[in-house]
């Protein structure tokens, strides 16, 4: 028979079991963290009607989308979890309780040109809090505490949650009569870290932004110091524009209450140059950086938006949320050997029979499993060396050997594969030991 070469599409992350165990542990820790903050799970289809998914899209998104026909339907694969959330909330509005706190962890699809660390299929881990008509700014202050807890859970201490408020930028541009340039200016400011301050000035001057105005923008993005100092300097700019004033008040509230929500100062910073996606977010915006692995970029980002589902309903549904791009994060951390997961294997014990009649070894494996100890039994007829090599490769921490002697004395040989230590024990004592571990 002609063989088809077994291969996986480029841009699709597929892991070996050892990495998959780490990936799953990271995913579960994120899930548990989201649940600790009371977010409800939802699981929307990966396929939706194109009409639904593309209600708002356009430009890059539309080009990247996986779209196809089946029967009479124009279908597409979701490219994020936000549009399906908007559909979900509009569709089930009457059945939901507001504020609606939901998390969703699932795969999304973007047919990008594949490059290293960019995936066409990848996991997003989203949380959002959706209000019915209105949503208190204190929700914006809770978000950093969720980010903080989640990033800690996946094993990092040295990270910074950066926040800003888009109303400050929008208010400033209004004050400076630069409203029509605001999108463009924000894009330039967003690049500040990459291109440097001189280039920013140059580009602004090329746009014929008046010198006074450029200076005022520079004054704004140069504001530095502690969070308190930044807030004070923003006050001192003495901008009277209503949007700016509102943004400043919101930022102050978020700073104040994020602290009470338990976010330490060293993990939290106001960064006035963060703008995020240009037309979606309307207030608080978030980015999160692992300080030792800054090159990865933001690992958890999001913000406040005015109206989640305006394409599907007249209801006003403001929200705030953040997302972790898990596949990319995992891939990058793995590449940098920076994954800090505890679990190395699924099985805790490998039972290795050294007898013909498998009854006793099977009984022992069954007892361990009854006591909730993940256990394998090596059933195949192979040399003992092969069996131990199997345990080794799978990083199973304990091996139980059962031969004629052990059966005669009603004991097992219990080997710690990490220390090499070997003991002869009653199976009940093994269970006690491992049950507590």
């Amino acid at each position: 028979m002609n063989k088809i070469e077994p291969r996986t599409l480029p841009g699709f992350l597929e892991l070996l079991p050892k990495e998959q165990i780490m990936f799953n542990e990271m995913k579960e820790k994120i899930q548990k963290s989201y649940e600790k903050f009371g977010f409800l799970p939802i699981d929307t289809p990966i396929i939706e009607m194109s009409e639904i998914l593309l209600a708002k899209a356009g430009g890059e998104t539309e080009k990247q989308i996986y779209a196809f026909q089946k029967g009479d339907n124009n279908l597409a694969l979701r490219f994020d979890l936000t549009v399906p959330l908007a559909k979900y909330v509009a569709e089930y509005y009457n059945d939901l309780s507001f504020p609606f706190r939901r998390y969703q962890i699932g795969k999304v699809y973007r047919g990008e040109r594949p490059q290293k660390g960019r995936f066409r299929e990848f996991y997003q881990c989203d949380i959002d809090i959706i209000g019915d008509g209105e949503l208190s700014i204190l929700n914006d202050a809770e978000i950093p505490s969720i980010i903080y807890n989640t990033i800690k859970e996946i094993g990092f201490d040295d990270f910074t949650i950066c926040i800003n408020n888009r109303k400050l930028l929008n208010g400033l541009f209004k004050e400076l009569n630069q409203e029509e340039n605001s999108v463009e200016i924000m894009r330039i400011i967003d690049k500040l870290e990459k291109i440097g301050q001189d280039s920013v000035v140059e580009i602004l001057e090329d746009m014929n932004v008046p010198k006074d105005t450029v200076n005022k923008i520079l004054e704004f993005i140069q504001i530095d110091g502690s969070t308190e100092e930044k807030l004070r300097k923003l006050e001192e700019m003495n901008i009277q524009n209503e949007v700016f004033v509102q943004g400043l008040q919101e930022l102050k509230d978020v700073v104040k209450y994020a602290k009470i929500f338990g976010v330490p100062d060293e993990n939290f910073k106001v960064d006035l140059t963060i703008a995020r996606g240009l037309d979606y977010y309307t207030g608080t915006v978030y980015e999160t950086f692992l300080n030792e692995y800054r090159s990865i970029g933001s690992v958890c980002s999001g913000g406040r938006y005015e109206n989640l589902a305006e394409y599907y309903t007249d209801k006003k549904l403001p929200g705030v949320g953040v997302s972790i791009g898990l596949s990319r994060l995992f891939y990058k951390l793995n590449e940098l050997q920076a994954i800090k997961m505890e679990q190395k294997s699924i099985s805790k014990v490998l039972v290795v029979p050294m007898v013909e009649d498998m009854s006793k070894p099977i009984e022992v494996a069954t007892m361990l499993r009854k006591n909730n100890i993940p256990t394998e039994i090596y059933i195949e007829d192979k040399k003992i060396k092969t069996k131990f090599k199997y345990a080794d490769k799978l990083q199973i921490p304990y091996v139980i050997v059962i031969g004629e002697d052990e059966i005669a004395n009603d004991v097992v040989s219990f080997k710690n594969m990490v220390t090499g230590e070997q003991q002869t024990l009653k199976i009940e004592d093994v269970i006690k030991m491992l049950g507590q571990a």
Copy 2:
């Protein structure tokens, strides 16, 4: 703005959060059960090259598949988890340890005509044990213990794992010179429960199967009694055909060792009329029925196959596995109000502030979360009735009310939403109580 009606494609299961919590609990219990038996996780892409997915397919499968083009590639969505497993094992053969025990829980796609309880997107929960060249029959005996443990875990006691061995049927047909009719006869036998014995005889006679042969087939499928009696009667048929003899020995081994693997007699049965998918399985086959909900059909099925990945590699890779069709199972059980899951809510506590300054309530919520107690705080400025109604609708079991009095006395009002009982407690005591629950 013109609104697009928010809607989900027919045939796609989408749950409200309350049901999603139950669904996720069931899914997690299946996963934990699979892991207790030492299966390793893998997670293959939902999109694969059509060439890979359709290497074997044809007929119904090919019609149902979601296929499309992107760039120059012919792509398709996976319609099961077995073909991706075959690809995976062939692709990463050198990196895997054999026997390779893997589980995969994920969505698969079939563009079927949508009908009640049949889904176009649904979860399968698969386990397989793949041998390199050969695989001991004892693996076939372990599978029922995994099914037993898994179905118990998701809350059922009254169920029957039915096993058969296809070699018995194949050997019988050889013995009776009915090899060319074997596929057709197996299909008829598989329908026995549905159409009754008389119809089976009638159809066989219409096929010009000789009367003697029909009687021998009837003798076979009429074999009843306890498992031991069935095995004895199979012996007494005195069929010398080699395949039959081998099948009988395998069946006896599986029966003997499944018991040692801890499967109780009352949950286990030899059923000689089970044939399963006609060309894939070659030995042991499994079906599992919830006796109180027989109408659902088999909830966990599978079998032994000769060669997993013959379309991709010359390596001989025999295997044995079973699958749970989770979406359908959940849907049907939910319809029958037969779901036995424990978790009703994500949050254990709702903190309800009755003060203007949210600092204290936020501190309390943060303390609870630090102690790993899933907690929400109702931040919005609403009436107390609305806040309690929210807890009620989300079935959050405890509410903590914090007003001026509580703050003055450094206590909280702690209400059990199930019993209605209300206590005034120190927050430390609440944490102690809930931490132990």
